[in-house]
Symmetry: C2
Subunit: 276 residues, 2 copies
Amino acid sequence: MKLFRRVTILGIGLIGGSLALAIKKHRLADTVVGISRRRQTLALARRAGVIDRGSLDLSAARGSDLVIVATPVDTMLSLARQLSAVIGSECMVTDVGSTKRCVVARYETFFSNYLGSHPLAGSEKKGVRFASGVLFAQSLCIITPTAKTKGRVVTKMTKLWRSIGAHIVSMSPERHDRVVAFVSHLPHAAAFSLASSVPKEYLPYGATGLRDTTRIVASDTKLWSSIFLSNPDNITKAITLFQQHLRRLKESIRRGDRRRLQIFLHNAQIKRQELA
Amino acid sequence: MKLFRRVTILGIGLIGGSLALAIKKHRLADTVVGISRRRQTLALARRAGVIDRGSLDLSAARGSDLVIVATPVDTMLSLARQLSAVIGSECMVTDVGSTKRCVVARYETFFSNYLGSHPLAGSEKKGVRFASGVLFAQSLCIITPTAKTKGRVVTKMTKLWRSIGAHIVSMSPERHDRVVAFVSHLPHAAAFSLASSVPKEYLPYGATGLRDTTRIVASDTKLWSSIFLSNPDNITKAITLFQQHLRRLKESIRRGDRRRLQIFLHNAQIKRQELA
């Protein structure tokens, strides 16, 4: 089902590339244009059939009826003005940023047909060569409409996400940033800190426990700096709560309080079961 | 290659059951006897061909030339005396406990042919029904000989572990407990605390990041209470170091110090690569 004539995707990494592939796979647009800062990425994306056309220049977004911004969050913020000078006022705009308040606030001032999105998909893999047309199948996509968002933009963007297999949840940008601080940013903060803590000479003895808990440390560090810095108040609050629990656990161990320790572990386990 | 006539395994859980299966698979003993506190476990283990004979009574260990203790650490400590009254002085004894100082110290006072072992294998699965004869293939097994350990015991136990596919590393019980505090106990402490920190109503939004970092929270909580309490000084030290790194990361985020943040994430990532 065709939804758009021409979709431009800014940033052809894992998410942008996977979106391009999914849009082509489901024939949701006539043309998919990819814009990247790297010639190599464009060549790779074209060769792999991820995009129909590629450009190093933002002006290639001209004439699109949908622009999807899939760059790191700080790049999103910095290119909004320039993008608004290129595209028409009727063009729909969305982004896939991992934090929403700052992006939504800025994009709403520049674009009248904007809706923030955050597909909860991806992996620690980086780059268009890991792009997959089924990355969003059975995934969750949070959309963050505000009082300014037009109903027809929500309807159309919901259709797009559903067409590529995602389930939609709608919440405010503020709630979104609180939620992801806990379910995504905090686990990353914990994993990076955990990997930092293990003495190098002990690493050869790391088994599946350490491997699993630190897998996401392989994530793009530039992207993650950008995410952490775009949601600092919620993330530091989440870390503070984590520190409190860690302190409580440590105290039970130090005191040899088996009862408190078992209750702590048991409650964590009960909660974790909700996730499965 | 037969190494023993009669092996008795105390505790037929995931590790004990897998050991029994591996010993039978490689024909390392004539008879494998399983001792458990639960009739149901014995019935299951016998039906599945995990053990040749089962008993609820410790005295069934009589006449063995090897006893492997595969119970939680606190049970190991409490049954040493009783076990020593049952088995002959020539019987070899080992254990598979996750901490070694306390077990080794106690077992050396009761058994003259003892060697501590810690196979770094297993999973969050619990119980004999997940036992596998190939659990130790390509795994690492730490043995912890001391000045009191006899050379022929080390030789024979090394043969046993190698025969079922494990690679052997030898270190003192003290070093073992420092190492595992970081590579195994700390990741568990972090994962349990992380699961505790996430508000319940946010859990439906948890994606692979949260799922992976907290997978080990599904581990046996009684076993883990016992492990934490048997290595408290090393674990609290490891948690303290983790808290320092966490505080540093939080501070970089709070201050918006992108340079420090990126260095932190980058260093963690470089270190994590050693693990792969």
